[in-house]
Symmetry: C2
Subunit: 259 residues, 2 copies
DNA sequence: CCAAAAGTGTTACCTTTACACCCATGT
DNA sequence: ACATGGGTGTAAAGGTAACACTTTTGG
């Protein structure tokens, strides 16, 4: 990876000017050694959302090592040299929860110069949605603890994780209205009341039951099952499932999900 | 920046397990030397949009150096070690156009292992909106040429820039409906017909003149000026300007821009 | 039989869409 | 005077929002 200056200039689009200076002499004084350009650290951090039937929760780890030892933090890790970003994010989640192929979307990249005390480490942040039923707590060896946290009860997190988390929540709120994300947080089979409670939790506002049902059923991608839920309810509730094939078909025809 | 293994383990959240293995022996064989984690290159690439009154254009440079010599590419550059991401993006744009404080938004980070032939280089992509009136073409020394391109007439770009550009366009289309971005592409004073043409170009569909005006004027953040535009038109057209103060005030009160 | 959650329609209101002609100016 | 782009209102249709009672079960 180490290359000499000549290769650098020919091999990368390094700008040699900070200002309007144009003469070769001026350019020379702005040259920066190549090795400085391959000194970036890279991590991924995951904002992992779950839904307990009542509230949206975020999965945090308690750091067992410095820096920020014993602070709560978003689960994350450095990216391996031969690993794609998505792959790294999936690996973090699999190590933490045992779940493969978690639903994830990139949020944003955080790159402040001083965001990590040990050097220049960028982090690519991801939103991850998991079904809590499938989740089996497992603290990684570098963490003292793993726990679900309610959004309203968060203290100071490690690094710039408060900022990252806030951005993740913001994106979730926006995306949940334009994409069928909600289903990733519920059991595969769910009742309409569960679905409504989920949307109310994410959006932070109550929804009208009849209007909600009219709208969501009118979209024609929920399948009524031959089963009812009897636990946790008095009158048994009709179970539904999300038909992704049908959804994809509809969207390709120009249909637009919007709650 | 270089640290030994012990510091690595204590100083960063490096996961030592790829799989479910837990014993210390198994862990050991997955250890990766620290220096590998600070070998990432980092660049920013800008999708620079302009509007010529008719079509949306993208500013591309023709690369003067390998790799991809003489391919068209998004303007971009490696990030300096002591420079924030936004700062790097602004620098690229200032070098290219002479404009400071360009309106920019992060699009996404592209990090495929093999996206850059010379090593592991991530790129953080930005959308930039500029007023073409202010732009004065200026090829950087590492570029043979700089030119506005129509979106429908693009060939194969360097690196993964076709993919990045497509993502930038997609984001622009979404955001222009939820945020008052359009005004960044027009002169400070503009006519409603110019504004409408802009939206039609971005969204790729014709809009009804009367409905468009009703809606946009109803939002109450356009200020009618005491001036008319007489060039390029028969009947002089009323000029308006975007009142950002008013807009911010409205949004803080719960108003929601949506076209 | 009572408590608790499930389920179900109608109406008023607001937003969106469709649509056609007159106006001011330059040539 | 005419060609060109600027400017204006209304009505029908569709979508959203408000609202209350009956049903089914477990205890």
């Amino acid at each position: 990876m180490r290359r000499d200056l000549d290769e650098l200039i020919n091999g990368n689009s390094v700008a040699l000017r900070y200002s309007d200076d144009n003469s070769p002499d001026d350019q020379a004084k702005y040259l920066i050694p190549l090795e400085d350009f391959f000194q970036f650290g890279l991590s991924v951090d995951c904002v992992v959302f779950g839904f307990d039937g009542q509230d949206i929760k975020v999965l945090l780890i308690k750091r067992g090592v410095a820096p920020y030892k014993s602070y709560w933090a978003l689960p994350g890790d450095l990216v391996y040299p031969q690993e794609d970003l998505n792959g790294a994010a999936q690996r973090v989640l699999e190590n933490l929860t045992g779940i493969r192929e978690v639903f994830m979307q990139q949020i944003k990249t955080f790159g402040k110069v001083d965001r990590h005390p040990l050097g220049r480490v960028l982090t690519v942040a991801y939103n991850a949605l998991i079904r809590v039923e499938n989740y089996e707590p497992r603290a990684a060896f570098w963490a003292d603890n793993v726990q679900w946290h309610t959004l309203s009860e968060l203290g100071d997190l490690a690094f710039d994780h408060n900022e990252i988390l806030a951005k993740g929540v913001e994106k979730l709120k926006v995306r949940v209205r334009n994409q069928p994300l909600g289903f990733e947080l519920l059991p595969v089979n769910f009742t309409l009341n569960q679905l409504q409670k989920l949307y109310e939790a994410v959006l932070g506002q109550p929804l009208d039951k009849r209007n909600f049902r009219k709208k969501i059923l009118g979209m024609n991608f929920l399948v009524k099952l031959d089963a009812k839920q009897t636990k946790d309810t008095r009158r048994p509730a009709q179970l539904y499932t999300f038909d992704r094939m049908r959804y994809d078909e509809l969207t390709h025809r120009g249909f637009n999900f919007e709650l």
